[in-house]
Subunit: 241 residues, 2 copies
């Protein structure tokens, strides 16, 4: 099978997956490049595979081919690797004991980086609020380096979900520079949720009111704050010790 026209209905449908509403409608999303396609394949979510003519990839999966002009139309990268996968969204599993919750993160790069660090530091589940940037945004997926397939991720009403988890005995933690305990001295809990807030505004008042404890990362006062992806990763590194 070779697609050579950007007017083709199938090709137009794939292109639409760069928009959130079509990703939601089709329950599908796009990944680009060998590494991400292989991760999707290994995790059983690869649905369709498109290769630029002349390209190959060593997986046992039906290959469809596209001309260079179709690739240019479909790719969102300056230099496309010539490999595009259409994937189905991932089903959620058991929630586990170690949880990160994100309250309205806006930058797809930050979300992807946090996903990668969650897997690195043995987080069981990532819970993200409905107003967080779309999980299946191509920048999020790229920044996650394929780790989006390796992590249990739930999108939901954060306020409700956290009250539910608190009632189940999870210790609810967040960050607070003025009233927190230093991360270096934090007591570890078996079951915890660490809530990280929006880049500009931090954690909402509603969520703050249900927290059991606050922590902060000691930094030089010349630097007002850390990037949220960095702060989350340092906290996860310390909690995973």
């Amino acid at each position: 099978m070779l697609y050579t026209s950007i007017e083709n209905k199938k090709i137009k449908q794939i292109k639409k997956l760069y928009q959130k509403k079509y990703r939601d409608l089709e329950n599908s999303f796009i990944v680009e490049g060998e590494h991400l396609v292989i991760e999707a394949y290994k995790n059983g979510v690869l649905k369709e595979l498109y290769l630029e003519q002349g390209k190959n990839i060593n997986i046992d999966f039906e290959k469809k081919y596209i001309s260079t002009n179709v690739l240019k139309y479909l790719s969102n990268l300056e230099t496309s690797p010539g490999i595009i996968g259409v994937c189905k969204k991932i089903d959620k599993n058991e929630i586990g004991n170690k949880i990160v919750a994100l309250d309205g993160i806006q930058d797809p790069g930050n979300l992807g980086t946090i996903i990668r660090s969650c897997v690195a530091f043995n987080i069981d589940t990532l819970i993200i609020s409905n107003n967080t940037v779309d999980l299946y945004n191509d920048k999020t997926i790229r920044a996650s380096q394929g780790m989006i397939f390796a992590l249990n991720i739930i999108i939901c009403d954060l306020d409700k979900k956290l009250v539910e988890l608190k009632n189940k005995g999870y210790k609810i933690l967040s960050t607070n520079v003025t009233s927190g305990k230093s991360l270096k001295n934090i007591e570890k809990s078996e079951k915890f949720v660490i809530i990280m807030g929006n880049e500009g505004n931090g954690v909402s008042n509603t969520l703050e009111s249900i927290c059991d404890d606050f922590l902060y990362i000691e930094i030089n006062p010349k630097c007002e704050s850390l990037n949220v992806g960095i702060a989350t990763s340092i906290i996860l590194y310390e909690l995973d010790k």
Copy 2:
């Protein structure tokens, strides 16, 4: 003073500062937004200040005004805050004891994030190789959150500089997953350089050969590696304890 035409010679000169060769030629660079302009002003590097008509900023500095169409032409942001500063590049100071060296970092966001974390965790000097992404790229400056003004940064031939520092008694560290010591157990030195490598290829063989010790961050094997900005920040957090 009000500029209303994008054909104006002065305005065209400013626009050129988005290109590295003109930044090098003019020894100047652009920042956008109140926060970055104030940081530049406080650090004595602000040379010229341009405000969209109707905007204000509370610093004692000569203000020039631009029309909305000139702002759109000059801004590199989707939604411009209407405040643009032209700054002179920063002079270098004494090198200090705690040093980070970057070998060919390519992503301006990563470089900016590392600058911010260097300030947060009390690094004295950042040394960057000539083949690292330009320090004065507007994305680098934005990601640094103005901390580019608060850090001593040297751009140089890394191989030569590190041999020089090794001879002066600095302990030269880098990361290595296979032969490194866990970061958790690393012995701290009074005078050190930590070298972080390029996103794809890591640290060059030449630089590896002059290292005194290697460390690694223990992560879940499902995750091949961490983002270089994240890894650097976690190491600096641990070394600053």
